[in-house]
Symmetry: C2
Subunit: 331 residues, 2 copies
């Protein structure tokens, strides 16, 4: 029920995903049954009529409450115990599903995931990881907004979470971890970042040192690529929203300069967020994928594929191992 284009985009995205996934996989659509059923019928009778074969792999699960964007995340769980958010995540905690995807309120999904899936031991809060398109490859940036005031220890935990994500979901063994700062040298940055630099050097991770804002669009420096960039959720969120807004601005600038639509469409494809699917909430004991509120059916399909990759790669177990690893105790 969540997201700017729900339930149409969500239901259509599920159909698109099923067409591409192994037949062994199925999807539970959680929400107001009548609404979801009507939407599903409309799509199968209309623009997605070629997807009729996927209908058998869809179950509809009733969840009468709907969390609105205006609801406070902290009270949404108590006031609406049978929202699609709560019902969907509870199913995972009870072993009836393997992963959860939503385009609804990020704050509510975070709160519900913490309550229903629980956090790995030693974590105080989960982190959101998002992919930034770059000239080299997509760079994973975390935290992208779950935590605004972070300690250096938390930045090190983000590095461990991001490393597990890059290995399991992006398929990058021994990922290169950078710490976002205002200069390459370890002594550059604010107090927390300088401290985190020291801790990361002793963390056992493949830590390449500080990276700067300019290394994000290039995917690293001339000498060294970067897979994961660690920062607090304030900086990460500002950067993410800035990046999301800059592509439309530049495209508009180019259109005004007379660049034709076909060329722009080709270029846009490379920068399109929906290519990259959803943003996993890392640190919870399970799989909870945050899809963008403006998700298209294609973006929902992408988020479902990220969820599947997280499940099949055992990301959650890898995170548990890494957070409890002897390396961390030594650091």
């Amino acid at each position: 029920m969540g997201g700017d284009f729900a339930p149409q985009a969500t239901v259509a995205g599920a159909l698109l995903a099923l067409a591409e996934l192994d037949p062994a996989h199925s999807i539970q659509l959680v929400g107001r049954t009548a609404v979801v059923e009507a939407q599903l019928r409309a799509l199968l009778d209309g623009e997605l009529s070629s997807h009729a074969a996927q209908r058998d792999r869809i179950a509809i699960v009733e969840a009468p409450d709907v969390i609105e964007m205006s609801d406070k995340p902290s009270t949404a769980m108590r006031g609406k115990p049978n929202s699609s958010m709560a019902v969907g995540l509870r199913m995972q905690s009870e072993g009836m599903s393997d992963a959860f995807v939503s385009a609804g309120s990020t704050g509510a999904q975070m709160a519900a995931s913490m309550v229903l899936l629980k956090l790995h031991p030693g974590l105080k809060r989960p982190a959101i990881v998002t992919l930034f398109p770059s000239a080299r490859h997509a760079v994973a940036v975390l935290d992208s907004g779950a935590n605004v005031d972070c300690s250096s220890d938390e930045l090190v935990q983000f590095a461990r979470l991001g490393a597990a994500y890059a290995e399991c979901v992006l398929g990058r063994p021994n990922p290169a971890i950078g710490l976002l700062s205002v200069g390459e040298e370890p002594e550059k940055g604010d107090a927390v970042t300088k401290e985190a630099n020291q801790l990361l050097q002793a963390s056992g991770l493949n830590f390449i040192g500080n990276v700067e804002g300019r290394d994000l669009p290039t995917g690293g420096t001339d000498r060294q690529h970067v897979d994961v960039v660690v920062c607090d959720g304030f900086v990460g969120n500002v950067l993410l929203k800035f990046y999301e807004a800059i592509a439309p601005f530049m495209i508009e600038t180019l259109r005004a300069a007379g660049v034709d639509a076909a060329h722009l469409a080709m270029a846009l494809q490379h920068l399109d967020y929906s290519e990259y699917g959803g943003a996993p909430l890392l640190g919870v004991r399970g799989v909870s994928i945050i899809a963008h509120g403006k998700s298209s059916p294609r973006a929902i399909k992408g988020a479902i594929k990220v969820a599947l990759q997280a499940v099949t790669s055992g990301m959650n177990d890898v995170i548990g191992e890494r957070l409890g690893s002897p390396k961390e105790h030594a650091a």
Copy 2:
């Protein structure tokens, strides 16, 4: 002597500026006399031969020491008392010049400006303001890197400095001030930002509330434009470097998609930093303009024009009044 393309770009920029400025204005080129003289002669004998008339408005001032980018800002002043940085700023403190422009080490320029020009009472450090191209108009962002760990009081001072800059240099009366955060609501953000939001509401400035990363490329929200965006120097520096790197990345993406060079050049113009000239160091009692290390002659010309605008508008006095205003004492 400072900057990646010095002294060629610096000297050429001075000639280009003089050709456009009122004949009453003159420029002092501070550096190793022989080097500067040879460069000036080469340009006037060659590509800038049409600028011979400007030669009389140029004085060359000897400064034997050169600060290298590898020199520590804190020790550069003591170890190299006769650098072009120190000599040029000393001339301003002694009333022999009105403004100083450099493309050299930002850290050294900041340190030398604090020592030789001094700060306005009540300030602990100056702030760097840079202009971000946007869909509406250029947005002034500060601090862009002079201060990494900031208090809420310092963020309020940045707002006052930025307001004076926007009025005097950008010619925007009663500029709209936004506070960079992770959500529009006053209660969104890290601890320092939340506190700063409260202080700014009582500051007497035209404070429009929190703005987000997405409001920078658009120059504000749908309802409200923004002239000045306030943030700490860590976030500001990360964003600035990110923005500088993203245009080349997007241009490369478009080139790969087959967009032709002429269209790209037209679009680039809008995003070209050299259009926007130098970044004033705000808070010092005088005019000290930081030009980008990679400044072209055109960018140097732009920085000189910013310096002139700061002088003729009396920006320094306006800043003095605003920082000492009764409004601040009331806040």
